[in-house]
């Protein structure tokens, strides 16, 4: 290392990538994109015509969902449209959600689903929420189905999985802003493009989970399927998929959560709905409305997630019960139909059922703005002092250090780390990816990204893992903690970013807060998961030989939970990187900003190159951590052997 620092005057190239070495990747991608949009052709039709056709196909169910939930059936176009049939009234939608909750999970779930929707209604976000629901209602099933099919294909053909894995990595780590412009070109302007972007972003976890879940189906079940003579299709749909259902539902949950995460960005390209409400409210610094609309997104996420989970559970248990369930389901369907009929008829006469009267709506009004104002006026100096302390003593020195490191040295070190953790292949992968960042001319911005995300991950782990440990031990703590992290993950970060700017000014510190708030959730979640999976017998054994509680924790539980905690850290890094684009909105100078600039200048090549650099960082971190976790696991397994 010191060799590199001494070598600066002699090896200038190692510190700053010479211009001649740089790849004009930006231009290549830009040109390729132009070709794709303007010239690419399959003979009979062009590529753009194909994508426009796909857009038109997606548009059909979207329009139906929108008519049902929001606009009603219209005759004519635009402002000349005349409503032929009204949409479902709010009473019907809330009733249906509660009914589904009752059917799938009993009164508690019914109350939860109804309550969340009532919250949305009372705070005057109903219309927006229904527009958002319509696009979610299309994006989620398509994401789930597409993810599942890709997962099945990857499961059947290992070769396909090899090709698919890096593509999934890219889909998850390239910031959405980077491919927003090409999507607009290809799919046209409006809600359909937003749905496509949402699917791209939300589909990968479904595929990943599907592959793992399908591989996890036990051999006995598979053999059984073969013995009773299932055809290939039967084997897949009657045996494999139902057996993998619990795992698949985790994927569904992730698709729902990620789709709702995209709501804000989707609204920037014409999806409208709650995302637009949040954005518009914060642009006029109406913090109260921003928070209300943000919480409406959270409420929507809770309803969709809990209902889908419960329905899946119900179906599983039903399969064991047998045929009677079909009859048992009828009362619900009848009630649902009756509910729709009655509310529609009533809606003709009662205006309040068509649109909820404004006089009954609640609002927090200026409450939130006043809270922020009060903190701002009374505590700004203390906050500022705390911020300066961190900034001057930790943040800035680390930033300088990282920026001063020679790229050639960092590439070498990463490759070395790869070598020692996973051998030549890993060394080659990691070193190659780092080299790619350097050669595309993104080194400096990449280092700022590493600094910001790295520090955020450290803070998130320092906060999250202890909370996770406490919550794993104590059920009473876990309940509220779970609500908080669910909220943090679905509440658009824009909502708390603006108050953060008011209290901490524009800059790295504010960005850090936003990233930590978002990325702390997996650190907590996976720590809890890992600690809870520790075999109780081992803990008992530890207690028998006289371990103190502290020893139990450090010597047994944490060691055994290590793989999950590592996975949590991995996910923390991924989420931190995915927040980059948001932090660009408060003026950081990293790759996220580069992507954002490219978006506003509609420069596809520039955006995708910066996006790829983000993906490279993510993949380096992922590969190294996975390798480290595997080594930890092997070492521990060795520990159980007779050698010790």
């Amino acid at each position: 290392m010191s060799l590199w620092l001494v070598g600066q005057p002699f090896a200038e190239w190692a510190f700053k990538v010479p211009r001649a070495w740089r790849m004009p990747l930006q231009r290549w991608i830009g040109d390729a994109m132009d070709w794709l949009v303007q010239d690419a052709s399959f003979g009979l039709f062009t590529f753009t015509e194909l994508t426009r056709f796909i857009a038109a196909v997606i548009d059909v169910p979207y329009r139906i969902a929108l008519s049902l939930l929001s606009t009603g059936w219209l005759e004519g176009q635009g402002s000349a449209a005349v409503q032929q049939l009204p949409p479902l009234s709010w009473l019907a939608v809330i009733g249906l959600a509660a009914l589904l909750g009752l059917h799938a999970g009993g009164w508690r779930l019914a109350a939860l689903a109804g309550g969340c929707l009532l919250f949305i209604l009372l705070f005057g976000q109903w219309d927006n929420a229904m527009v958002t629901s319509a696009s979610i209602a299309i994006a989620v099933p398509l994401g789930v189905a597409g993810g599942l099919l890709l997962g099945l294909a990857a499961y059947r053909w290992p070769m396909f999985e090899k090709i698919l894995t890096p593509i999934l990595d890219l889909m998850q780590t390239v910031p959405v802003f980077a491919y927003l412009v090409p999507i607009l070109f290809l799919f046209g302007f409006g809600p359909t493009a937003a749905v496509v972007a949402t699917i791209i972003y939300a589909l990968p976890p479904m595929t990943r989970v599907a592959i793992v879940a399908l591989k996890g189906v036990s051999d006995e079940i598979r053999d059984l399927g073969r013995m009773v003579g299932c055809s290939r299709r039967q084997m897949t749909w009657r045996v494999m998929v139902p057996s993998a259902m619990p795992g698949l539902m985790v994927g569904v949950n992730q698709v729902i959560m990620l789709s709702l995460n995209m709501v804000i960005i989707a609204s920037m390209i014409g999806a409208g709905g709650l995302g637009f409400e949040v954005l518009a409210a914060l642009r006029r610094l109406d913090i109260g409305t921003g928070i209300e609309a943000g919480l409406a997104i959270v409420a929507l996420a809770i309803v969709l997630d809990r209902l889908s989970q419960a329905v899946a559970d119900k179906q599983r248990t039903h399969e064991q019960v047998g045929q009677t369930s079909l009859i048992a389901r009828h009362p619900y369907i009848l009630t649902a139909l009756a509910l729709i009929g009655v509310t529609s008829l009533l809606g003709i006469g009662v205006e309040a059922l068509r649109s909820f009267p404004e006089s009954l709506q609640l609002s927090t009004g200026s409450f939130w703005a006043d809270v922020v104002r009060w903190i701002n006026v009374n505590f700004f100096d203390q906050l500022e002092a705390f911020k300066d302390l961190l900034l001057l003593n930790i943040l800035i020195p680390i930033k300088r250090l990282l920026l001063d490191l020679p790229w050639a040295g960092v590439v070498g070190l990463l490759a070395l780390a790869g070598w020692s953790l996973g051998g030549a292949r890993l060394a080659l992968t990691v070193g190659g990816l780092a080299l790619l960042i350097a050669l595309t001319g993104q080194w400096e911005k990449a280092m700022i990204t590493v600094y910001l995300c790295g520090l955020s991950v450290v803070f998130a782990c320092l906060i999250g893992i202890p909370i996770g440990i406490v919550a794993a031990e104590n059920e009473r703590v876990w309940g509220p903690v779970r609500v908080v992290i669910d909220t943090l993950q679905t509440l658009p970060s824009f909502v708390y970013l603006m108050p953060a700017v008011m209290l901490f000014r524009v800059g790295d510190f504010t960005a850090l807060i936003a990233v930590v708030a978002y990325a702390v959730a997996p650190a907590i979640r996976y720590t809890v998961l890992g600690l809870r999976q520790v075999d109780p017998e081992l803990i008992e054994a530890g207690r028998m030989i006289g371990c103190t509680p502290l020893q139990l924790l450090t010597k047994i539980k944490l060691k055994l939970a290590w793989p999950e905690i590592m996975l949590g850290i991995n996910q923390t890094i991924m989420l931190a990187l995915s927040m980059l684009v948001i932090t660009a909105l408060v003026g950081t100078r990293d790759l996220g900003q580069e992507v954002y600039i490219a978006l506003t200048k509609a420069d596809t090549g520039r955006g995708l190159v910066a996006g790829l650099a983000v993906a490279c960082i993510a993949m380096i971190a992922d590969r190294l951590i996975t390798a480290a976790a595997r080594r930890g696991l092997e070492r521990r397994r060795g520990g159980h052997g007779p050698r010790r």
Binding site: R63, L74, S79, S267, G272, F494
Partner: protein, 322 residues
């Protein structure tokens, strides 16, 4: 297209009934095509007002109108292909490059000025005059004590100037260097962040100097002044020798420029009447400033404010659709 009307409605918070009664105005008005003309909506109030005004006027003329939410710059992709038709506010100061690029393709047409002038400049709250008595003259900022009043721990002893998002351009870094101002430029990422900081500082009566633009609600809500730099000229930006510092360009204030209307090139042939009406549309800064204030500070809906304007100015807009 229904969802677009929808989104516009959600945005304007208009009840269903009002929306439905918005069916085309005078019965029997003959228009060239009843296909909806798609106007883009962005995320600042002034633009929503201009667009709604234009849309309502076109409806009075019998056209079918659709409002579409779209990103300010990304919308040009849609305007080129004809997915979108009319964008009512392209600012000389921020949208010029994208607009020129689009009009150069021949698929997008500049329909002239809206009549509003964009102002973008350094701005400070009025209470800062106590600490820098020389303001609004820019030379007051050269004073070390004055600059220090604007400083933070990170920038001290230099003052901290909060610039707009990098994408807005504006050459503030160059301006600071050319005028040898003892200031550091910090870029906000969005204008929401920009005004969040202003709000925060104003609540505490704390020092701040930042990029503000008009027409906007901020100059109406907060008392303050624009810094008076040496006046802008094209030479000042292009030629180092011009203006105060003989060795550097950008040693002057920012240009003030018109806000343009642009449209898809096909509008002219498809809806000639609408094309003429859009070309005729004008409004000035004061009238717009008042309407923006009504919406953002007095909490009225865009739709209400536009309806009022329509009622009071029938003579004005009826001239556009003759």
């Amino acid at each position: 297209m229904t969802p677009l009307t929808r989104s516009a409605r959600a945005l304007l918070a208009a009840p269903v009934a009002a929306m439905l009664s918005w069916a085309p105005g005078p019965a029997g008005a003959e228009v060239e095509s009843t296909d909806p003309i798609k106007l883009t909506l962005h995320d600042w109030t002034g633009q929503l007002i201009t667009t709604t005004m234009m849309g309502e006027v076109l409806k009075k003329a019998g056209y079918t109108v659709d409002y579409v939410q779209a990103d300010y710059i990304a919308q040009f992709a849609g305007l080129k292909t004809g997915d979108l038709h009319v964008a009512m506010e392209i600012w000389e100061t921020t949208g010029r490059d994208a607009m020129d690029e689009a009009t150069a393709t021949g698929d997008v047409e500049n329909l002239g000025e809206t009549g509003m002038q964009a102002i973008e400049e350094w701005w400070y709250p009025i209470y800062m005059k106590e600490q820098c008595p020389g303001l609004p003259n820019w030379e007051a900022l050269l004073d070390e004590a004055c600059a220090e009043a604007f400083s933070t721990a990170e920038t001290a002893p230099y003052g901290r100037y909060l610039g707009g998002p990098v994408t807005w351009g504006g050459y503030d870094d160059e301006r600071v260097a050319a005028l040898e101002l003892p200031f550091e430029v910090v870029h906000a990422g969005t204008d929401a962040a920009l005004f969040a900081e202003l709000e925060s500082a104003y609540q505490r009566q704390a020092p701040i100097i930042l990029w503000v633009y008009a027409p906007h609600w901020a100059p109406a809500k907060y008392q303050g002044e624009w810094v008076e730099f040496p006046p802008y000229s094209a030479e000042c930006y292009a030629d180092p020798a011009a203006s105060i510092n003989p060795d550097e360009a950008y040693d002057c204030g920012k240009p003030r420029g018109p806000i343009w209307k642009v449209a898809w090139a096909g509008v002219k042939d498809k809806w000639p009447g609408a094309y003429a009406a859009i070309k005729a549309f004008t409004i000035d800064n004061d009238a717009m400033g008042k309407m923006v204030t009504e919406v953002d500070l007095n909490g009225r809906t865009v739709e209400d404010v536009v309806t009022d304007w329509m009622a009071e100015n029938e003579g004005v807009w009826s001239g556009w659709i003759k």
